[in-house]
Amino acid sequence: MTVTKRKTPLLDELEKGPWPSFVKEIKKEAAHNAMANDVLGILERSYEDHISHWKHGGLVGVMGYGGGVIGRYCDLPDEFPNVKEFHTYRINQPSAWFYTTKVLRHLCDIWEKHGSGLTNFHGSTGDIVFLGSSTEALEPCFAELSAEREDMPSFDLGGSGSNMRTPSCCVGPARCEWAMYDTLEACYDITQTFQDELHRPFFPYKYKFKFAGCPNDCVASIARSDCSVIGTWKDDIRVDAAKVKEYAANGVDIQTEIVDLCPTSCMAWDGNTLDIDNSNCVRCMHCINVMPKALKPGLERGAVILIGAKAPIIGGALLSSVFVPFLEMEPPFDDLKELTEAIWDLWGEHGKNRERVGEFIQRVGLGNFLDEIGLEPIPQMVMHPRTNPYIFFEDELEEDEA
């Protein structure tokens, strides 16, 4: 396809400088793709006007699904007819974003045929994002992605709207010594188990899972997912005393860099031996991060389950809070699934429209929420017990029993 080259003096400024340029990326596709060329044009116009030229689209998608495609239209369709419709596909990524080049080229070929040639690797939730499809192209592109093939894996769409969003996970046991459970398998299993909830929005609002193998939380699960599954361990940190000395000899100041920064002051160093009071260790990872050859997590492994993180809209940003202080994370992850279904049942029935589960818990009270889903309240769930005396006592304290 021949495409008329556009003048984009403002965007051209963003081709300068050492960091790789998204403008160059758009231009590479614009040279032979009319949609990408119109994106370039309309983006230059935004840079002139200081405003977005996109409108949210009504209901577009593929048959039988309520999510996975974000409708998008431009507000200047006469000037930029090739991006009059410019919808986004979210394609469910493989766990931990591993690919073969064969499958990457396959995805590129499909996208070259059906859309703008522009992508995000990856979108914020973790999906492969195909940016810019016409309404007409949605079904054929989906068919080509999802069709059964002998020599190539098939792909499905991810989540959007008020459904389970595409779960994601860290690199986990594939390439990290700190993975306290199999994040790739947990992510895959949960995604497959809840396909209906992923594709068909019937929740009050979105529900995200992120699987982090350790408390370093490389997928930001505690900030970004309604259900944060963060690996931890129960037994003692494994210490290789000789290697500790080696780190000390090679310039790590064990006292100031390790002992003094321990959040629970559970370590002591006499210049020779590192002593750890494991009963007081909260598994924060700092000492292990600094000396990965000498200190390793224990072997009795599982995860902390925390619930309720979200960004500000609507009722303010939240971090997830502790629900289960230690859960063994072995396939088929029945305990996590059971907890998830209990939460969905309650929130699904009583949550308000666009109320995330974290906001719902604040509205009804964590204590009441726990009662309903059948979890016992434990001190690990709070920073401290309540300080206000306005306790809503229930019926169990009748006068005649007192």
């Binding site: 963003l14 960091w19 790789p20 340029s21 998204f22 990326e25 758009i26 590479k28 596709e29 983006l43 840079y47 405003i51 977005s52 030229h53 996109w54 949210h56 493989p94 766990s95 974003w97 591993f98 690919y99 073969t100 080049t101 080229r105 590129c108 070259e112 040639g117 992508t119 995000n120 690797f121 914020s124 973790g126 940016l131 007409e136 068919a143 069709a147 059964e148 098939s154 792909f155 499905d156 690199v171 594939a174 390439r175 010594e177 895959y188 995604t191 396909q195 209906d196 594709h199 939380d217 699960s221 505690i222 900030a223 909260v282 700092h286 600094v290 990965p292 809209i313 303010g316 940003a317």
Partner: protein, 361 residues
């Protein structure tokens, strides 16, 4: 429309990850012993078996065309037996079992225009949202601001300059935060500052009024008759500029070329190392949109990075350093003005007031 020869299937889920794992990973899955960061963009993982796996981390602009993805695939074929992965922060990782390939690979990657770095006590890639490239409610562009900022922070990515600890920068183009920037060392956040403007002519034709009224999280939108036609009125004092109404009704325009802009927040983290996860806190309430390179935003971010780099102790993240020295010191050192906008007035705001006489004088 031509009939497709492909038979669509639904509810199949993602392909199983195992088929994409290189043999060295399949062999040592869950049996890695330790790792070492060798340079800004190269680390080695050593397995219990003694096998070694070198990872070369490469920064990308996130928005990539298929031309570039195919070029990455060519490199992965040449050096990595056809395997490659992406990180949670839009970096590409090339995985090598032969350390002699590191330098030639780096050379080829850099020749394509992509930097190697981001590991350890450095600034990794900025995670960000769509902005003016593709979003209807963006208060600023995302890719442009990120590109301009990363051009200046480049030395901290490639390892020409080091930091006391790792630093995570994130960008979101409105409060919906598709990039969930609210727990980052430095968060750049697009902000609308005015209530939506209602086009009373278009509204009855384009929008369902009950849906529109219900879309407002603060109940600021009420049905009203304007010039004899059904429409809505907006209680401006109640609006927090989320843009949700614009999502359901294009006749309620939240975007405003003059009053949209960018805010800057600092001190958040998600890891548990040393201290618990933290939200980012407000430093600069508003900077205007100044495309194509947003110099005011870039200068503010660079200032914050430089002051942190000069003052924090080893291993101290931005928020941990500020917790130690105090916010008055942070504002003094960086020179940003503290205003009434910095004092929270949403629910639980009182929890952020300082209630002690123990002050640095």
């Amino acid at each position: 429309m031509a009939e497709t020869e492909f038979q669509r299937r639904t509810d199949i889920g993602p392909p199983h990850y195992e088929q994409f794992l290189p043999p060295v990973i399949k062999k040592n899955y869950g049996k890695w012993d330790y790792h070492e960061i060798l340079e800004a963009g190269v680390m080695v993982h050593v397995a219990e078996s003694g096998d070694k796996l070198w990872s070369v981390r490469v920064g990308t602009p996130r928005l990539m065309g298929i031309t570039t993805i195919r070029e990455f695939a060519d490199l992965a074929d040449k050096y990595c037996d056809g395997y490659v992965r992406w990180t949670s922060r839009n970096n590409v990782e090339f995985l090598l079992t032969d350390s002699s390939k590191i330098e030639p690979l780096k050379k080829d990657v850099q020749a394509l225009g992509f930097p190697v770095g981001g590991l350890g006590n450095r600034i990794s890639n900025i995670v960000h949202t769509q902005g003016w490239v593709h979003c209807h409610s963006s208060a600023s562009d995302a890719s442009g601001v990120v590109k301009a900022v990363m051009d200046k922070l480049y030395p901290y990515f490639v390892g020409e300059k080091d930091l006391p600890a790792k630093m995570r920068v994130a960008y979101a183009c409105c409060l919906n935060m598709c990039g969930a920037v609210h727990c980052s060392d430095i968060a750049i956040l697009g902000v609308h500052t005015k209530a939506p403007v209602v086009n009373h002519n278009d509204l009855p034709k384009m929008c369902e009024i009950p849906t529109l009224v219900a879309s407002c999280p603060t109940g600021a939108i009420r049905p009203a008759t304007v010039d004899g036609k059904p429409s809505v009125e907006i209680e401006e004092a109640q609006c927090m500029y989320c843009g949700n109404c614009y999502t359901v009704c294009p006749a309620c325009t939240i975007n405003n070329a003059k009053t949209d802009g960018v805010s800057i927040w600092v001190g958040g983290k998600v890891s548990d190392a040393r201290s618990t996860p933290k939200f980012s806190k407000l430093v600069v309430p508003f900077l205007p949109n100044t495309p194509p390179r947003w110099p005011e935003v870039v200068d503010a971010v660079v200032k914050i990075v430089e002051v942190y780099a000069a003052n924090a102790r080893k291993h101290e993240r931005m928020g941990e350093w500020i917790d130690r020295v105090g916010w008055p010191k942070f504002f003094e050192l960086t020179g940003f003005e503290f205003t009434k906008y910095h004092i929270d007035d949403f629910k639980h705001a009182g929890e952020t007031f300082l209630r002690t006489a123990a002050l640095r004088q």
